[in-house]
């Protein structure tokens, strides 16, 4: 059984597809459930997996908290659970086999570190931040990581920060207004978006405001979706931190190992993707588009 | 009669110098009313005179803008109807104001349901409901939702609720009845009066509003007349004759035109509509009916005799499941009203509140809608044309309103009825079915409407008119069809056409 968050973005869909493809390759029968971004649906799905008596469960949790009761239930039914993508907070580490988690804080740090290494950022650098959905873990942690690094660079400052709900349309709309509120974007040195979609929307807004994204205004974000590589290749965007959607492989590895009797898996396997820049963008775009 | 009331004693309830304004209307100007225990007090006036408004002010539905209300010698003011009920004023409002979704029993006892262990005792409630209704000669399934019954039954239920003893409130001291008899038959009216007389004996003061002057003389002790929102006068019934009363109400004398010749009787005129063995489920059975062109036919019968059902059937609201129907020489089958209207058949329905009025729209729009619907949505009636139509009928039917833009929902009951009637007259169909068209219409306008109907006949329109008022039917019908238990029992015309013969035919069953 695989309890997925939903299909709210292209990234998420690639993630689901990669898990399905991986299962097929290994001849595993996969029960897939889409929770439509709702934790309650996800818990329901996991419980019905338990009722069906599946061999193992993979959860890509919507939020970090709230998993204790259902994990206990799985444990009682002796079904191993692997957590992928996001983290979960539970007191009792024996409730799951392992977590294969992306580290959102680290992603924020990487983005900030790169940005601070740029020549434009050495003097006064005003940054606009496009946040993810208010309350989403990814948004909170990425902001945390980014701000951590920023704290060490007094010349850099986030002057505007607003949510654009992880979507391209909102990214464009919010950026449009923010630029106007900042005297048409004069004196802004960078845009930091919590995901590529928002950045892509914002890039359009920046262009329409008569500025050159990627040059007058640096653009950095997280995810590494194909469209963003294209934007980087065109010189409109500067950098992105990859969020690896291919979590299916490692998860199945762990499960297969566990079912064969290997019980001492590490409790946390961290995966943070690399930072991609304009130089490799064109090649990466070709590669990823074919996928 | 008059010395029954101890005029020296203090009035039970007094309204003084009451003012009430609505946007554009001074509904009440210095209106007054005084009520004594143990009297039936008729409150009379034209449509829109302000009777219902006075009643609403008196019972806490509306807040007065000026004046005072005295109960005994205590000045009171009610914020909600509940407050008024608490001190023993029980009211039956003009439109049936009950809850169609609840059962009959629940409607009767809402707010004072019999309880057992703190919970509503539905069995006891149904039992009490049956008992209460039997005093009105009504034997119906009290657990069925109210919406399943005809307006007349609903009206009776409303009255029964009004006279039912209330729990948790002072016993009824004042009973207000706003046009309770508008849709009742002669028989029910008598039963109602029986009940009223009983209540009177018990010392209840009763306010009785009606447009039937005969009933006024039958039951009331005193009369208050209103006109244009003002108090006109207070009289002892015994000392005021009908002509004087009419003059007081209208401000002028009404030349009596009743009992004129019916629509010009062309003997053997062709029939415009013919029904043979027409039936529809349980509601109409094997009906043979011929409606002659250019004449008015009356439809008489008791409550629930199936008159409304015939109208519905002929208008395509119900589907026939047997028999044949032909209109203007062609066999037709009706499955919806739009078809009927396209053919030239129109129905002015009985229940204006749910089937007639489009409350939020203006008088102008309400009047022109049917004509507009007949023309189709793309051929729009110009606003000027609509205005003309509206102005014509406002003038003709004496609709009391500041202008044609007032939403119909804010008119007085009788005036609403006039607007609905005007709507169908404006369509000028070949056959017009009128189901209780004069419900709640004052006597001035009544005469005007009869006149109009006669005119229409002369212009070649045919009519089928249902009415509980036999006088009215005989006034213009060339033929009267009498219904009993959903079957046609008699057809009267020529010499036989008088109230007594109709009564005899209606009563036929019990003989």
């Amino acid at each position: 059984g695989f309890a997925q968050v939903g299909s709210e973005s292209g990234w998420r869909t690639s993630f689901s597809e990669s898990v399905k493809a991986e299962a097929k390759k290994r001849g595993i029968e996969l029960k897939f459930s889409d929770a439509q971004q709702k934790q309650e649906n996800q818990i329901k799905a996991v419980r019905s997996f338990i009722a069906q008596g599946v061999d193992a469960i993979i959860i890509a949790p919507v939020v970090e908290t709230g998993w204790t009761p259902v994990l206990r239930e799985a444990k009682r039914a002796r079904i191993p659970v692997v957590i992928v993508d996001r983290n979960v907070q539970v007191h009792d580490e024996s409730l799951f086999v392992t977590r294969i988690a992306s580290d959102f804080v680290e992603e924020g740090r990487k983005a900030a570190t790169w940005l601070m290494s740029q020549p434009q950022a050495q003097q006064q650098c005003n940054i606009i931040e496009l946040q993810g959905t208010v309350g989403a873990t990814a948004a909170i942690d990425r902001a945390k990581g980014f701000n951590e690094v920023l704290a060490k660079h007094p010349q850099a400052k986030i002057v505007r920060s607003q949510t654009a709900e992880f979507t391209r349309a909102k990214g464009k709309e919010v950026m449009e207004s923010l630029l106007k509120a900042e005297q048409g974007g004069k004196g802004i040195c960078a845009l930091w978006a919590h995901n590529d979609e928002m950045a892509l929307g914002a890039i359009q807004a920046i262009k329409e405001a008569g500025l050159k994204p990627g040059k007058e205004l640096l653009v950095v974000s997280v995810d590494a979706v194909p469209d963003y590589f294209k934007a980087m290749a065109d010189g409109d965007a500067n950098a992105t931190v990859e969020l690896n959607p291919h979590l299916g492989g490692p998860a199945f590895d762990v499960i297969e190992g566990y079912l064969k009797g290997k019980k001492d898996t590490e409790k946390l396997i961290r995966t943070t993707g690399d930072l991609f820049l304009q130089d490799t963008a064109a090649a990466e775009y070709e590669k990823r588009r074919l996928n | 009669m008059s010395d029954q009331i101890n005029t020296a004693a203090q009035p039970l309830l007094q309204l003084r110098q009451i003012n009430k304004n609505f946007p554009g209307v001074k509904a009440l100007q210095q209106a007054q009313l005084s009520l004594y225990a143990g009297e039936v007090h008729a409150l009379l006036g034209e449509n829109g005179a302000g009777k219902s408004t006075l009643v609403k002010v008196m019972t806490g539905v509306l807040q007065k803008d000026g004046g005072e209300l005295l109960l005994g010698s205590k000045a009171l003011s009610f914020a909600t109807p509940k407050d008024a009920q608490q001190v023993g004023i029980s009211t039956v409002y003009q439109e049936v104001n009950l809850l169609p979704n609840l059962s009959v029993a629940h409607n009767l006892f809402l707010g004072s349901e019999p309880k057992r262990f703190g919970l509503i005792d539905k069995k006891a409630m149904a039992h009490q409901a049956r008992q209460l209704l039997s005093t009105f000669g009504l034997d119906i399934n009290v657990t069925a939702p109210l919406s399943e019954f005809s307006v007349a039954v609903q009206q009776l239920v409303a009255i029964a609720r009004g006279v039912a003893p209330k729990r948790g409130a002072a016993c009824t001291k004042v009973l207000v009845l706003d046009e309770p008899t508008a849709s009742l038959d002669a028989d029910e009216v008598q039963t109602l009066f029986q009940v009223l007389r009983q209540l009177k004996q018990q010392g209840v003061a009763i306010v009785f509003i009606t447009h039937f002057l005969d009933q006024v003389y039958q039951i009331s002790d005193r009369i208050t007349v209103m006109r244009n929102g003002c108090f006109v006068g207070e009289y002892h019934t015994a000392s005021l004759n009908k002509a004087e009363l009419i003059a007081a109400m209208l401000g002028k004398e009404l030349c009596q035109q009743r009992h004129q010749t019916p629509c010009l009787v062309v003997e053997q005129s062709e029939s415009i509509l013919t029904a043979r063995q027409l039936s529809s489920g349980q509601s109409v059975q094997q009906l043979d009916l011929d409606l002659p062109a250019g004449q008015a036919v009356g439809l008489a019968g008791l409550l629930g005799s199936g008159r409304t059902e015939i109208c519905r059937l002929l208008f395509g609201l119900d589907q026939a499941d047997g028999g044949t129907l032909s209109f203007a020489g062609k066999a037709i089958k009706l499955s919806n009203p739009a078809q009927a209207i396209a053919l030239g058949i129109a129905l002015c329905p009985e229940d204006r509140k749910t089937q007639g009025m489009i409350a939020a729209l203006s008088i102008r729009e309400n009047i022109s809608l049917a004509l507009q619907a007949k023309q189709g949505w793309w051929r729009v009636l110009s606003k000027k044309k609509q205005q003309q139509l509206a102005d014509f009928y406002i003038e003709k039917l004496q609709i009391a309103t500041p202008d044609a833009e007032k939403p119909i929902g804010q008119l007085s009951g009788g005036n609403q009825q006039k607007v609905i009637l005007a709507r169908w007259l404006a369509v000028e169909p070949q056959l017009l079915l009128l189901d209780e068209p004069t419900r709640g219409i004052d006597i001035g306008a009544h005469a005007e409407i009869l006149q109009l109907i006669r005119q229409l006949c002369q212009q070649g329109m045919s009519l089928l008119v249902t009415s509980s008022e036999l006088e009215e039917l005989t006034a213009f019908s060339s033929k009267i069809v009498v219904m009993r238990d959903r079957k046609k029992v008699a057809e009267l015309s020529g010499e036989d056409l008088n109230s007594d013969r109709i009564m005899a035919a209606i009563a036929g069953a019990s003989v």
């Binding site: 208010v134 979507t167 349309a169 469209d227 | 002028k252 009927a340 202008d403």
Partner: protein
Amino acid sequence: MTSEATVLNSTPEQLKAARQARYSPGQSAHQFSLYLYPLLALALLLLVNLLLDPQFFSLQWQDGRLYGPLIDIVNRSAPVALLAIGMSLVIATGGIDLSVGAVMAICGAVCANLLLLGDWSIPAVIGLAVLTGLACGLVNGLMVSYLGIQPIVATLVLMVAGRGVAQLLNQGQIVTFQNPDFAALGSGSFLGLPVPVWLVLLALLIMQLLLRRTALGLFIEAVGCNAKASRYLGIDDRGIKLTVYLLAGGCAALAGIIATADIQGSDANNAGLWLELDAILAVVIGGAALTGGRFSLPRAVIGVLIIQALSTTIVVSGLPAKFNLLIKALVILLVLMLQSELFRHQLKSLFSFGKLRGGKV
């Protein structure tokens, strides 16, 4: 005990005079206040913006088009304005259409995929998208009018399934395309104003003509007010209901086209997400009753402008994003209260009370 106040027999002139004294014509329709309060609310919001950003009202001519925050608000209102136009009609019949957001997504997906296929002309793409919208409207309309399913659930079905259909078309990805001509529908400009604004004006004009120059608008109001009485009048109430859902579907399709053209891509999951609520809100702020009856398209559009001005204010205000919902809630409540007569009365008396006291001191 007999008393008389008025003479019994009066002349017709006297009678007429008595009537006229009672009625003052022309009071029945107060169109004025219906527009006054929504406009007042809008003005207040814009004023707040002006305080936050002194250049808020500035307009520049740049690249052959007007440019400035005000234009942005109007431009960003376009999709919701289109939805609100359709929604007005649906609400006027006493219904509600929750599916418009999903329909936007479907139509957007149709556009994007057709454009990717390449050999489709822009008018054909638009035409097909609008047809898709109409088809969705047809589904809703049939369910509501002929199956008699309650509007909120009937359209909930398409709200859930529609997004699935859109994602199916896009295979879960965001389908992007490069087509400057099509993109111009979202971000281009014409005679100085953004194209979406023109589209809304056009739609408004056509709808207004369709509804008010024929009897359709009146029929819609009649059906919404009392469907049974309308049927007795010979109005085809089912047909009318079907029509409004069709029109709402068509409007949603246009909105979907604009949204897709704007970001040059179709985002099946997020396009139009929760916009149905904004559209309903706008219609109600515009003064319509959800139980059906009277409607006004211009007022609904004013409602949309209020909502959009509010979101812009929130963005411009620089407050942390977590305050967004709270502010939105409070402003909406205020706008609604302004429309309540009782509240205005209370405000007034509060104000005059203050003045009185001020006078005494």
